[in-house]
């Protein structure tokens, strides 16, 4: 239930490339999502999409779009951002990832 190694993080709304912070957010968000009991109940879910929405700041909901394919079931969409704590809102799909500053 983890991402494939070839996932390409794309940025929408600007020409810039993903930043190292974006890449870290993706990695951390995956860990937070995949630790959630709801996610663990899914069979064979794999990360297929990671999109940075550049029109939203990285601390706002909606910043990083993640999509997991689930064989034979509804794909799961999430939006991750840097926040105060690690949290998954399973019904909303919004994922807060504790900022690196707060983890120290």
């Amino acid at each position: 239930m983890t991402s494939g190694p070839t996932l390409v993080l794309t940025v929408i709304g600007t020409d810039r490339a993903p930043t190292s912070s974006d890449a870290r957010l993706l990695t951390r968000a995956q860990a937070v999502i995949e630790a959630d009991p709801h996610f663990k109940a899914l069979s064979g879910a794999s990360l297929q999409r990671g999109e940075v929405n550049a029109g939203v700041t990285e601390t706002e909901s909606g910043y990083l779009y993640l999509r997991y394919d689930v064989p034979g079931a509804v794909p799961q969409e999430f939006w991750a951002h840097w926040g105060k704590k690690d949290h998954v809102g399973w019904s909303s799909g919004q994922v807060s990832v504790k900022t690196e500053q707060n983890t120290r």
Binding site: I12, G13, N53, E60, G62, Y65, V74, E77, W79
Partner: protein, 258 residues
């Protein structure tokens, strides 16, 4: 003669709607179709076994408000009135569209004669066709992502108010056509024509023909039907399907009001 009368009636209604929309200060230059450079459409799944299950759209999450605001900004909409727009899924959720920003655009309820209500009608039609196996879900997704106005013409009939399909940029993934096939594969049912299911398409202005006066509408609370008598919301409901009886509406999945 009847069609001429209907066209005149619609023209009058459209004119009334246009003048009231102008008076209310709505943006009548709002985009009618998505900009393919900003949002070309995006599919979540093309599996009818997933999409065609009753209640499917409730299993798909909602777009965060901050992302909706991004879409408004991307389309240059810096101010709006309550109820003027929705952030629409280009490939609707009921057709397997995704919540990616690639699949979102601001669509006005107030432009005339083409607006979000009219697009809803073609979304519902394509869903019915795809989920009854008359076309593939992928075909439905492709056609609505290409240009919903041409999809309307192909699968429903002439656009309301005598409108012509809107041309979009050449960068559209699947170039639209304004040519109406002589015999569409899915044989659209003209507004007012009865079917064996008691369901017909609404008139261009969102009303229902006398033979099938019950209005079916799909909203945030799901599919609901409205009776012409005893239902205070009937007059203002924009029908997306019409039924000859409440039983027919229920059979099509439209529940009564509570």
């Amino acid at each position: 003669m009847r069609s001429l009368l209907r066209m005149r009636t619609f023209a009058v209604l459209a004119a009334v709607g246009l003048s009231s929309a102008l008076a209310a200060g709505y943006n009548l230059q709002a985009p009618l179709v998505p900009d393919p450079k900003l949002s070309p459409g995006d599919v979540l799944t093309s599996d009818p076994k997933i999409v065609c299950v009753s209640g499917y759209t409730k299993t798909v999450r909602n777009v965060p408000q901050s992302l909706k605001e991004q879409v408004y900004r991307a389309y240059g909409i810096t101010s709006r009135q309550s109820g003027e727009y929705e952030i629409d899924h280009i490939i609707s959720l009921e057709l397997g569209g995704s919540n990616s920003v690639r699949n979102l655009f601001p669509e006005s309820f107030k432009t005339m004669p083409l607006n979000a209500h009219v697009k809803d009608a073609v979304e519902n039609r394509l869903h019915d066709l795809a989920c009854s196996g008359k076309i593939t879900l992928a075909e439905a997704q492709q056609t609505i992502a290409s240009n919903w106005t041409t999809a309307y013409v192909k699968y429903i009939g002439p656009l309301p108010g005598g409108a012509q399909p809107v041309m979009v940029g050449a960068a559209v993934p699947h170039p639209p056509t304004t040519t109406v096939p002589a015999q569409p594969s899915a044989a659209p049912v003209p507004a007012g024509s009865s079917t064996t299911t008691g369901q017909t398409l609404p008139n261009g202005d969102g009303s229902c023909p006398a033979a099938a006066p019950i209005k079916g509408n799909v909203g945030s609370r799901g599919k609901i039907h409205h009776l012409s008598q005893g239902d205070g919301n009937y007059a203002r409901t924009y029908a997306e399907a019409c039924f000859s009886s409440a039983t027919a509406a229920q059979a099509a999945g439209y529940r009564g009001i509570r």
